[in-house]
């Protein structure tokens, strides 16, 4: 039971919690947070598992760095989309519009906002 | 690759390029389109004629290149191929002429003629295909290119007919594909070869081969309209007359029959097929189809539907002929490939003329049509008598040859089938003739179109007359060297080698 394995298990736990949230939560921002949680979980697993060989291993660090960058990019894109979506539809989740009638259009000034 | 090797490709190309050009032409350029059509048709006829001469002198034309790993694309011009190719080339020219007249100032002509050319291209491809795979390739191409022709009118009825047609044919195609694929797994890529490939097969192959044979026949039988796979044929009658003529005489139905010929002769080989006990079963089905089609035809009051059922019955003559498995009987079957084509196309041309000129579709409207349209009616009469098998017309040659073959093969019951079906043919054709010639016209024609002194447009009148002439000559000069019978005997001596 090395500490590294502990990290790995913690990572796995984070992962599953994140997954749990990612699937169950319908609010988009929280979904996104859940995703980030998962992401960190995965990174933790990566770093943790890689250590059990003799000596520290540079490769996972590099990988995780890259992974974090990718995750940030993804998050950024997601945030932009969600924001835009909210402005257009005034909704914060993805239920089928068929189920609930088309919502009142989002905040007007946001619609006219030139930078959108 | 010499020019002779490419001759089949050129022949194929003529109609393909014609199709492309026609699709590219704007709708209203009628003269130009007609010109393209006719030139292509004539050119093709010439090329095929060249090939026929070459094959007669024993030349071999062909081209082959690998397509998919383990499978070749093979075009080959042997005598059997020429039988079918010659038929389709000759009848294409006539049908083109006819359709030009038939579709005068109707919409979507450019679409029609485009697919029409495609359809003929695939027919030629089927004729020239050198192995089952290539055959299948063109077989499916035919299916696709005929669909637009069937639904050409775009009416609800036409669309429904098209649906039935496509369901039947595609399903049949799938079955056929399965058969071909399994055969391929069993014994690799099989070129068509006289005598077939399984003359000396391993005993453990017998069972799978039998199954595969059944599957293949089932797949091909859809197009050949073998009962109970014939359902699409009568429905497809809503298509314009030239299309029905083509479907019945050359293209679709014949493709199926021709495929069966290829499979029986050049994949399995008559002896093997007989040894596996497959021919007798096939013969039984064919005989049943013959009788069933004729009986059904009796009950049709629509002229084209009656003709359709008569096709169902007539095409199975070809198959029955094969099953006689003797040189003479086989000759009877093969020669019917041509004879039935010529006769049936004549009948459909005439039916189309009645519909176009006088607006007659039902048989009981035909009273006295003979006096109004003598030319058409003479053609119709000749063809009808040919179907009945009256000498000296083409149909008689078929029946006589098949009959002799049946006796030679000791399958006397076939004679009974022939006689009964001839009686039935007489029973459903003679009344029509009686109405045409001896019926007193009761009420004015439905929608009559005047063409001055002539009974109908020359475009419509001449094709049936010419084909009627063919079927008369095919019977009268049956012993001449280049008559269908003569050619078939050449095939048999050369390729079927019985």
């Amino acid at each position: 039971m090395t500490p590294f394995l502990l990290y790995a298990l913690a990572g796995a736990a984070l992962c599953s919690i994140g997954l749990f949230g990612f699937i169950l939560i319908s609010h988009l921002l929280r979904k996104l947070l859940a995703f980030n949680l998962m992401g960190s979980g995965v990174f933790l697993v990566m770093v943790g598992l890689a250590q059990h060989r003799s000596g520290p291993d540079p490769v996972p660090q590099a990988l995780v760095l890259t992974g974090i960058v990718v995750a940030i990019a993804a998050t950024a894109l997601a945030v932009v989309l969600i924001r835009r979506y909210y402005h257009l539809s005034g909704k914060t989740s993805l239920e089928d519009p068929a189920q609930n009638p088309p919502p009142a259009p989002g905040p007007r000034q946001a619609r006219e906002a030139p930078h959108e | 690759m010499t020019a002779t090797a490419l001759l089949p490709v050129f022949a194929l190309m003529t109609s393909l390029t014609a199709a492309v050009i026609i699709f590219a032409l704007p709708e209203q350029k009628h003269r130009l389109r007609t010109f393209v059509n006719l030139t292509a048709a004539i050119l093709k006829l010439l090329l095929v004629g060249l090939m026929i001469r070459g094959v007669f002198q024993g030349k071999a034309y062909g081209i082959a290149f690998p397509m998919i790993p383990g499978v070749e694309f093979v075009l080959r011009a042997d005598a059997l191929a020429m039988l079918f190719a010659g038929l389709s080339a000759a009848l294409w020219l006539l049908t083109t002429v006819y359709s030009v007249g038939y579709l005068e100032n109707s919409p979507n002509r450019s679409r029609f003629f485009g697919f029409f050319s495609l359809c003929v291209a695939s027919t030629l491809g089927i004729a020239l295909a050198g192995n089952l795979f290539t055959f299948f390739l063109f077989y499916e191409m035919l299916t696709l290119s005929t669909y637009p022709l069937v639904v050409h009118r775009g009416t609800e009825q036409a669309l429904r007919a098209g649906r039935t047609y496509i369901i039947y044919t595609l399903a049949g195609g799938a079955v056929l594909l399965f058969g071909i694929a399994s055969l391929h797994v069993l014994s690799g890529d099989l070129p068509f070869r006289p005598g077939g490939h399984f003359a000396d097969m391993a005993p453990d192959l017998q069972m799978p081969l039998t199954i595969v044979f059944v599957v293949l026949i089932a797949g091909l039988g859809v197009k050949a309209a073998i009962v109970p796979l014939h359902g699409w044929l009568p429905v497809a009658m809503v298509a314009p007359a030239p299309v029905s003529a083509l479907l019945h005489a050359v293209a679709v139905v014949k493709a199926g029959a021709f495929g069966i010929v290829r499979v029986v002769f050049e994949i399995y080989g008559l002896e093997t097929a007989g040894a596996l006990g497959l021919l007798s079963g096939l013969a039984a089905i064919a005989a049943f189809t013959i009788l069933y089609g004729s009986v059904m035809a009796l009950y049709q009051s629509d002229l084209k539907r009656r003709l359709a059922f008569s096709t169902v019955s007539q095409v199975s003559y070809i198959i029955l002929g094969l099953c006689l498995a003797g040189p003479v009987g086989v000759a009877g079957g093969l020669v019917h490939l041509v004879h039935q084509g010529v006769m049936k196309i004549t009948l459909f041309f005439c039916a189309g003329n009645y519909a176009e000129t006088l607006g007659l579709h039902r048989i009981d409207e035909l009273d006295g049509a003979g006096r109004r349209m003598p030319g058409t009616s003479v053609a119709f009469t000749l063809a009808a008598f040919g179907m009945i098998g009256t000498p000296p017309l083409a149909g008689f040659i078929t029946k006589w040859t098949m009959g002799t073959g049946a006796l030679a093969a000791g399958m006397d019951w076939v004679i009974a089938v022939l006689v009964v079906s001839s009686l039935l043919n007489a029973a459903y054709f003679l009344p029509v003739l009686r109405r045409i010639w001896f019926g007193e016209q009761k009420d004015p024609w439905r929608e009559e179109r005047q063409w001055g002194r002539s009974e109908t447009s020359a475009w419509l009148l001449w094709p049936p007359l010419v084909t009627a002439g063919f079927l008369l000559l095919a019977g009268l000069l049956a012993s001449a060297p280049f008559s269908p019978l003569g050619w078939v005997e050449l095939i048999i001596t050369r390729e079927v080698n019985l």
Partner: protein, 489 residues
């Protein structure tokens, strides 16, 4: 020589992405077309090289793995590179005419387009699992952005849904990567494979494989996980849909296929193989049925993608411990299916776009009487349809034929049902479109003829997918090179 080619292949897309980011739509278009020319030439050259000399490894910038990035350039990869070049070029050109320059957000099409292309090339060439991950992410993010270009809220909804699915998928994949690295301390496929060959499979590494397959299947929209695809592909602008259906989904599948071919023999199991195959089969039927039911043209096409992707997954059962010959056959079938589907589907989406442009409606029955006007696009659509139906002589048929051969050879006859039945089902929905266009009752007189430039592009693609069946032999021979010189499978 190859150095320059590789450099061109990988860096022009990125460079062009940055360039076009700085310009407006019209200038971006001009720049892009230049880039397209370069890319196509480069890809052709590389293909020629590989065809002549066989595949090779290419350490990027001279740094060796694991820290450096090592690219593998084998026949399969280069074939897909060339395919990408073709389809992307076609979509790019088409988009140039198709997209409305006056909608300012359309300018973002170009950079996203280039990022996508870059990502694809990375995936085709990537040799270690992590690079593949990066490539996947690049693809996903660019694709999502492209979908979002639709503008209205529906598009965004689809985009977000897509994004979520993609993210989940890539995380699952990344987790798998982590586990692998933890076990074998190597990221390169070949490294892991050799490690596996030395000591028997470590328990649990099967789980990693399953995780990765789950992630990739999610991104490839395999049957139960396909829900995100139809809205996204349906709502996106036609050139985008073309790119997505033709290439993007293939990216993730390609990785799955490589994993399976190299690790499957040891880590995989009959159950897994059959499961994937069955899911594929269900995808074929379900997708076909949905396509048959839907009344919106692009929805039909999108669902047909679901169905067509299903065929790809027959690769797994057909390569599970059988003879080398059959494995090759199945791989060839898979490749042909990928190529022909890519070409056909791109042609279909582009021509569908033209048709919608012409009749001004996305509905199927709005096509009534269209065939009056002999629109080129209808023919392109039809030809592509022929390929989807798997009728000769199209590439779709060649693929189906090889699949048939493989499944008969391995005695797994039940896949015949999928192959033949699926073909008939696809015929059913394709013919629904034909039928609609042949209806005569409505005499529409308004028909906007799109410019020939728009119509010729899908036609070319369709003809390519048609000719593929006749040309299958040479294409496959190049593809087989990699298998020949050991590298890869």
């Amino acid at each position: 020589m190859t150095l320059w080619l590789m450099a061109g292949l990988l860096f022009t897309p990125l460079a062009w992405a940055v360039l076009t980011l700085l310009t407006g739509f019209r200038r971006g278009r001009a720049i892009t077309w230049l880039g397209i020319v370069i890319q196509v030439l480069v890809s052709l050259a590389l293909w020629a090289v590989v065809a002549a000399e066989g595949g090779f490894q290419y350490p990027l910038g001279g740094w060796q793995a694991p820290l450096g990035i090592e690219l593998r350039m084998d026949g399969l990869a280069v074939t897909f590179v060339l395919l990408t070049a073709l389809v992307a070029a076609a979509s790019g050109l088409h988009a140039g005419f198709y997209l409305d320059p006056d909608k300012d957000w359309h300018r973002y099409f170009w950079p996203l387009f280039w990022f996508l292309w870059a990502g694809l090339n990375v995936v085709w060439l990537g040799n270690d699992l992590f690079n593949l991950y990066v490539g996947l992410e690049l693809i996903s993010l660019a694709a999502v952005g492209l979908v979002a270009l639709g503008g209205q809220s529906e598009a965004l909804r689809a985009a977000i849904r897509y994004l979520m699915a993609a993210l989940l998928g890539s995380l699952a994949y990344l987790l798998g990567v982590a586990l692998f690295y933890g076990q074998f301390g190597s990221l390169s496929l070949s490294g892991i494979a050799s490690a596996l060959n030395q000591d028997i499979a470590v328990e649990g590494s099967g789980f990693a494989l399953i995780l990765m397959f789950f992630g990739l299947a999610l991104k490839t929209a395999l049957f139960p996980m396909h829900r995100w695809l139809p809205p996204a592909h349906g709502i996106a602008r036609s050139p985008v849909s073309a790119l997505l259906s033709a290439l993007v989904v293939k990216g993730s599948f390609y990785i799955a296929a490589r994993l399976w071919l190299e690790l499957g023999a040891t880590l995989g199991s009959l159950a897994l193989a059959q499961l994937l195959g069955v899911l594929g089969g269900m995808a074929v039927f379900w997708g076909g049925w949905q396509a048959f039911r839907h009344s919106k043209l692009k929805q039909v096409v999108a669902y047909s993608s679901v169905a067509q992707i299903g065929y790809l997954f027959l690769l797994f059962p057909l390569t599970w411990n059988t003879t080398e010959a059959v494995i090759i056959q199945a791989q060839q079938a898979m490749t042909l299916q990928v190529i022909s589907h890519a070409l056909a589907k791109a042609a279909m989406f582009l021509s569908a776009g033209n048709l919608i442009l012409s009749v001004g409606s996305n509905r199927l029955n709005a096509l009534a009487g269209v065939s009056h006007f002999l629109p080129f696009s209808l023919f392109s659509f039809g030809l592509a349809g022929v390929s989807l139906m798997g009728l000769p002589p199209t590439g779709g048929f060649a693929a189906k034929w090889l699949f048939l051969q493989a499944s008969l050879a391995t005695g797994q006859w039940w896949w015949l049902v999928v192959l033949l039945g699926g073909g008939l089902l696809s015929a059913a929905y394709v013919f629904r479109v034909y039928r609609a266009s042949f209806v005569e009752d409505s005499d529409i007189d308004h028909f906007f003829h799109p410019s020939r430039r728009l119509e010729i592009i899908p036609m070319i693609l369709a003809l390519l997918s048609l000719g593929l069946g006749l040309m299958a032999e040479p294409v496959l021979s190049v593809m087989a090179l990699a298998f020949a010189n050991g590298e890869g499978t």
